[in-house]
Symmetry: C2
Subunit: 238 residues, 2 copies
C-alpha cells in the first residue's frame, strides 16, 4: 500500500462506499429485470436474474468481511464507525432486495408456460415502479448523505403499502371469479409481497442513512407493514 496511514484509511472508507454503490446498482437491476421477465413470461431472462443475484450475495459477504477488518485495523470513532456499521447494514438490505428479486425470477421460471393475463400483472408492474423509485431515491440520498431526503423516502413507503393492499384485494377477486386463476394469482400475490418487502428494505436503508448522519435512530412506530391482514372478503370487481 502506498501513502501514509490516514490516506490509506480514507481509501478503505471510499472503497466501502464504492462497493455499496455498486451493490445498489446490482440490486436495482435485479429487481427491474425480475419484474420485466415476469411481464414477458421470459424464463431465460429469469435465469440470468438468478445468476446476477449470486454475484450480489458474494459482494455482500466480501463487503462484510472488508468492513469488519477495517473496524479492527482502524478502530474508528463516532461518524466513521457509524459509516462502517451503516455500510454493513445497508449491504445486508441490498442483499435481501436481490433475494426478493430472485424469488420473483424463480416463480417466472416455474410458471412461464402459463402466460398471465395482462390484467393480472399490470398492478404488479406499477407496484414495482414505485419500489424501484424508492430504491433509487434512497441510494441517491446515501450517495450525498442527505438525511431529509432519506426521511421522505421513509414517509413514501405508505404509498407502496396502500398499492400492495389494493393489488392483494384484486388478486383475491380474480381467484374467486375463476378457480383456474388460483395458481397464477397465488404466485402473483407472493411476487407482490416481495415487491412490498423491497419497499421496506428501502425504508431500512433510509433509517440507516439518518443514523449515520445524526448518530440517532429515527422514531419507532411508523406504519411499516402491509395491511392485507385485514382483508377478509374482497368485493367482486364486476
Amino acid at each position: 500500500m502506498v501513502g501514509h496511514i490516514s490516506s490509506t484509511y480514507d481509501d478503505e472508507l471510499k472503497s466501502i462506499l464504492r462497493r455499496i454503490s455498486e451493490m445498489g446498482g446490482q440490486a436495482e437491476r435485479i429487481v427491474a429485470r425480475a419484474v420485466e421477465t415476469l411481464m414477458r413470461s421470459d424464463a431465460e431472462g429469469a435465469q440470468a436474474v438468478v445468476k446476477e443475484d449470486k454475484l450480489l450475495d458474494a459482494a455482500q459477504r466480501e463487503l462484510d468481511e472488508y468492513a469488519i477488518r477495517t473496524i479492527a485495523k482502524r478502530q474508528p470513532m463516532a461518524q466513521d464507525l457509524r459509516e462502517i456499521v451503516g455500510a454493513i447494514r445497508i449491504s445486508n438490505d441490498l442483499e435481501r432486495i436481490g433475494d426478493l428479486g430472485k424469488n420473483i425470477a424463480k416463480r417466472v421460471i416455474a410458471i412461464h408456460e402459463h402466460k398471465q393475463p395482462v390484467k393480472l400483472t399490470r398492478g404488479l408492474e406499477h407496484l414495482s415502479e414505485l419500489a424501484l423509485e424508492q430504491l433509487k431515491d434512497v441510494l441517491d440520498a446515501y450517495a450525498v448523505r442527505d438525511e431529509s431526503r432519506a426521511e421522505r423516502v421513509r414517509a413514501r413507503d405508505e404509498e407502496i403499502d396502500a398499492m400492495y393492499t389494493s393489488i392483494f384485494r384484486e388478486l383475491l377477486t380474480y381467484m374467486m371469479e375463476d378457480p383456474r386463476n388460483i395458481t397464477a394469482c397465488t404466485h402473483l400475490l407472493f411476487s407482490a409481497k416481495n415487491i412490498e418487502r423491497i419497499g421496506d428494505h428501502a425504508t431500512n436503508i433510509a433509517e440507516t442513512i439518518y443514523y449515520i448522519k445524526t448518530g440517532h435512530q429515527m422514531e419507532l412506530d411508523r406504519p411499516k407493514d402491509d395491511r392485507t391482514h385485514a382483508i377478509v372478503a374482497p368485493v367482486k370487481s364486476d
Copy 2:
C-alpha cells in the same frame, strides 16, 4: 462504574450476551403465542402478541446502540469484535422473527371471526413446531458457542422448506376445491410463509455463530429458499 477497565469491558460483553438471550426468549414466545392464537382464533391473545413485539423492537434498538458504543469505547479486536458484530446481526434476526410472529397475530385479529377448519391449520401447527425447535436449538448453540450444533441447525432448514412446500400445495388444493376457502387459505399461505422465513432467520443465526467462533463464513450455496415457485398445478387431495 466499579472495577478496572478490563472487568468493565467484560461486563459490557456479558451484558450484550444477556440481552441477546433475553431477546431470544421473547422471540420464541412471540412466535409460539402467535401460532397458538391462530389455532384458537384468539384475537385478544393476538393483540398481546403485537404488544410484546413492540418490546422486542425496542430491545433490538437498545442493543444496537449499546453494541456500537461498546465498539467505539473499547475498540475490540478479533473474536471480541466478532462477538459484538455477531450480536448486532443476531439481534436483527430476532427482531425480524418477532415481526414475522406479529404478522401472523395481525392476520388472526383480522380473520378470527371466520374460524378456520382444523384441517387447514394442522399443517401450519407442525411447521411452527419445527421452526420453534430450530430457533431453540440455535439459541442454545449460541449460549455455548457450539458451531457444529449451529451447522446442524442450518442443515435441518431443508425439512422446514419441504414441509412448507407441501402445505403450500395443500392450501392451493383447498382453494380449488371450494372458492369459499380462498380468503382463509390465502392468509394461511402467508402465515406459513412467515414461519418458513423464521426458519431462515434461525439459519442466519447459525451462520453468525459459526462466524463468531471461527472467523470464517459458512459456505454459500446451501438450499435456502422455499420451492413453492415450482408449484404450478397442485394435485387434488381427494
